[in-house]
């Protein structure tokens, strides 16, 4: 039925089965949109956040998807600036994933901040003392860049590319893509850093507060490094998932290996930097703030196991698997390691957001607990559903993996 829209040489499921696949996701999106409407129309009392627990599920997941979405900027940087041509095999998928992650994060932020009709206030009346101003500017600008990077993929659709005006615009856009890759890298570095810096400057939250290096707290650099490290792992993991769900080979093993090598090397540097940062914080920063570091781990469920899990289990272990040539050539180790690396950044963002706010900071404070309301959960699941739907449509109608056609061809005779 829609075969004229599917790229030549690509085999896709029958249209009916594709629609059936979309139905549950569309239902989830519908429920989430209703929850978002409640939050916007009735107010943030629909959530379980309050003045003391002001960052909840939304901010935690926003930070996580923004970190995972870094695969788009980093793959673009490696391809267009560092000229790693092998990554052309995954750049389209990385851009779509990046666009989904960032547009989803911006949508959730819009619900969280509220008053969507006043979105322009942040640009016209910026709070120049807030790191979030820089985050807002960079997020919206980078989302614009991602939309521009997404556009050529859409214009290369089998039907659209038959229109000369679309074709020439796609061609000229492609020629200037390196500029967008550079701009994306610049913006990503700054907003990933500012999101980390946001926690590092919280002097009233000794668990998150860090000393400054140059003008920024160490978390500024750790967030940049961790996002750049797991971005390629997320591209690898999502490519593997899409390959399994669709039952098709999408990229050559060498591409996975390169992504793993980049991710593993950066993750090793990150684990080293994070370990040094943690040691400085334990032995110096927390005492300077008058708090014994052991007191941070006295409240269940956040024991020292969380620190071990974050740095060793989900940091050092995947870093070694991805960085060592022998282990990364074994797909039974490579793929789980990529998933572990992604889980590592999710745990890091959880610790920085939820654990930071849950811990008492003053003598009369108590340990806070927070469970997200169904509206919070549903509106975030709507973003997941939106992501699955957009990616599914892109995978079906756009040529996301240029090597797929070649890999699908009959073996050499």
């Amino acid at each position: 039925m829609d075969e004229r829209l599917v790229a030549r040489g690509l085999t896709r499921a029958p249209f009916g089965r594709f629609l059936l696949w979309l139905v549950p996701w569309a239902a989830l999106l519908g429920v989430g949109l209703y929850a978002a409407y409640l939050c916007l129309a009735v107010g943030l009392n629909q959530t379980n956040m309050d003045n003391r627990f002001a960052f909840g599920l939304w901010i935690y997941l926003d930070l996580t998807v923004i970190a995972l979405g870094a695969g788009a900027f980093f793959t673009g940087f490696l391809l267009y600036v560092m000229k790693r041509r092998e990554l052309a095999a995954v750049i389209n998928s990385a851009v779509v994933i990046g666009f989904i992650c960032y547009s989803g994060a911006v949508a959730i932020l819009a619900i969280d901040v509220g008053q969507p009709l006043r979105f322009w206030y942040t640009f016209w009346h910026p709070n120049v003392h807030s790191m979030l101003t820089e985050v807002t500017f960079c997020l919206t600008l980078y989302l614009t860049v991602l939309a521009i990077e997404y556009l050529p993929l859409v214009l290369r659709n089998r039907q659209l590319k038959t229109r000369p005006s679309m074709l020439v615009f796609e061609f000229e856009l492609h020629k200037v893509m390196a500029v967008f890759a550079l701009v994306g890298t610049f913006l990503s570095f700054f907003h990933q850093g500012s999101l980390g810096g946001l926690y590092g400057v919280l002097q009233g939250r000794p668990f998150a507060y860090r000393g400054s290096f140059l003008a920024w707290p160490s978390t500024f650099f750790l967030f940049i490094l961790s996002a750049a490290a797991v971005g390629p792992s997320f591209v690898l993991a999502t490519t593997w998932i899409v390959s399994k769900v669709s039952g098709r080979s999408l990229v050559k093993p060498a591409v996975f290996e390169l992504l793993a090598r980049v991710s593993g090397s950066l993750l090793l540097v990150y684990v080293l930097a994070k370990s040094v940062d943690t040691l400085v914080w334990i032995n110096h920063t927390s005492f300077q703030l008058g708090v014994h570091p052991a007191s941070f781990y006295a409240f269940a469920p956040f024991g020292t196991w969380a620190l071990f899990t974050e740095i060793v289990l989900l940091g050092l272990v995947p870093a070694l698997v991805l960085a060592l040539p022998r282990s990364r050539r074994d797909s039974r180790l490579l793929v789980p390691a990529a998933f572990l690396a992604c889980a590592g950044v999710a745990v890091n963002r959880f610790v920085m957001t939820v654990q930071t706010l849950a811990l008492p900071t003053l003598a009369f404070d108590s340990f806070l607990s927070y469970t997200p309301s169904w509206q919070e959960v549903a509106s975030f699941l709507a973003v997941v559903a939106y992501g699955v739907i957009l990616y599914s449509l892109s995978f079906r109608y756009l040529n996301l993996f240029p090597q797929e056609r070649e890999l699908a061809a009959a073996p050499e005779v």
Binding site: E3, G9, T11, P126, N127, H129, E172, L173, L187
Partner: protein
């Protein structure tokens, strides 16, 4: 803008911070505008066909972009980067010198399909025959005709239309699948003879025509063998492979023996429209 914001101050930090962000915004907007302006210029100058071929060519796998000198052994493993237009290839003259020029047989060759050697061949399965009056006759080769079978619709250029090398020279719809045919030469169509896939075009090149990018003689035979190999790979072993492998005749309508989606891919592979 910012002076209206109560917290804004004209100090170095604020100016640097907002200056950087607005510079990025200006860069994004300017780059986008440049791309749009260039696109408009390309459309005005009629470069759409060349751009379409550029995109198609680079979408093809390396195995489909083998250099002609790979086929004849002068440059093993070499992949073409010039859109099969050797006139713009700096290496082509060098490889031509290396090539051992076999005596070209004057009889028609047969590989399961006809390959008359009195003409020149384009990689997109069209042929060109220079005529005594300076015009060029252009047609689809036998392999392409057998691939296309009996088409529902054939759109050909009309007399007076301008053709460009690797630009479109027609569109064919067969078994519900549409594919364009590449022009092997540039010039003005002066006559369309016949109908359907057997139709030929007479083209006036407007002077001496440069046909260095086309294949002839031993090169054409090497290419035909390579195309047969590609066809064999594309259709697999179950349907038609045996007929090809044992030197038999290629069926008149290849599409009849293939599932729809594989036929579509095969048309794209062989007629160079991925």
């Amino acid at each position: 803008m910012f002076p209206w914001s109560p917290e804004f101050a004209w100090d170095a930090t604020h100016i640097a911070f907002f200056g950087a962000l607005y510079s990025v915004l200006a860069t994004v907007a300017l780059t986008l505008a440049v791309a749009a302006w260039r696109a408009r210029r390309d459309a005005r100058e009629g470069r759409a066909a060349a751009i379409a071929w550029h995109g198609d060519f680079h979408e093809m796998p390396a195995s489909a972009r083998a250099c002609r000198h790979q086929l004849t052994g002068e440059a093993p493993g070499r992949v073409c980067e010039n859109g099969f237009d050797c006139r713009h290839c700096a290496e082509h003259p060098h490889f031509e010198e290396l090539r051992r020029h076999d005596a070209t047989p004057d009889h028609a060759d047969h590989f399961g399909f006809d390959l008359p050697l009195d003409r020149l061949y384009h990689r997109g399965h069209t042929w060109v025959r220079p005529e005594a009056d300076g015009t060029l006759t252009v047609g689809l080769d036998d392999l392409a005709r057998r691939l296309l079978g009996t088409p529902e619709k054939v759109e050909l250029p009309r007399a007076g239309d301008r053709l460009e090398v690797n630009g479109p020279a027609g569109r064919v719809t067969t078994r519900g699948k549409e594919v364009r045919v590449l022009s092997p030469v540039e010039g003005t169509v002066v006559e369309v003879c016949g109908e359907g896939p057997s139709a030929t075009l007479r083209v006036d090149p407007g002077g001496l025509s440069d046909l260095r990018h086309l294949l002839s003689g031993a090169e054409a035979r090497a290419w035909a063998l390579r195309e047969l190999e590609r066809l064999q790979r594309a259709i697999g072993s179950s349907e038609l492979g045996a007929a090809l492998a044992d030197g038999g005749e290629l069926v008149d309508d290849v599409g009849a023996a293939l599932p729809r989606d594989r036929y579509d891919a095969l048309l794209g592979d062989m007629l160079l429209e991925p």
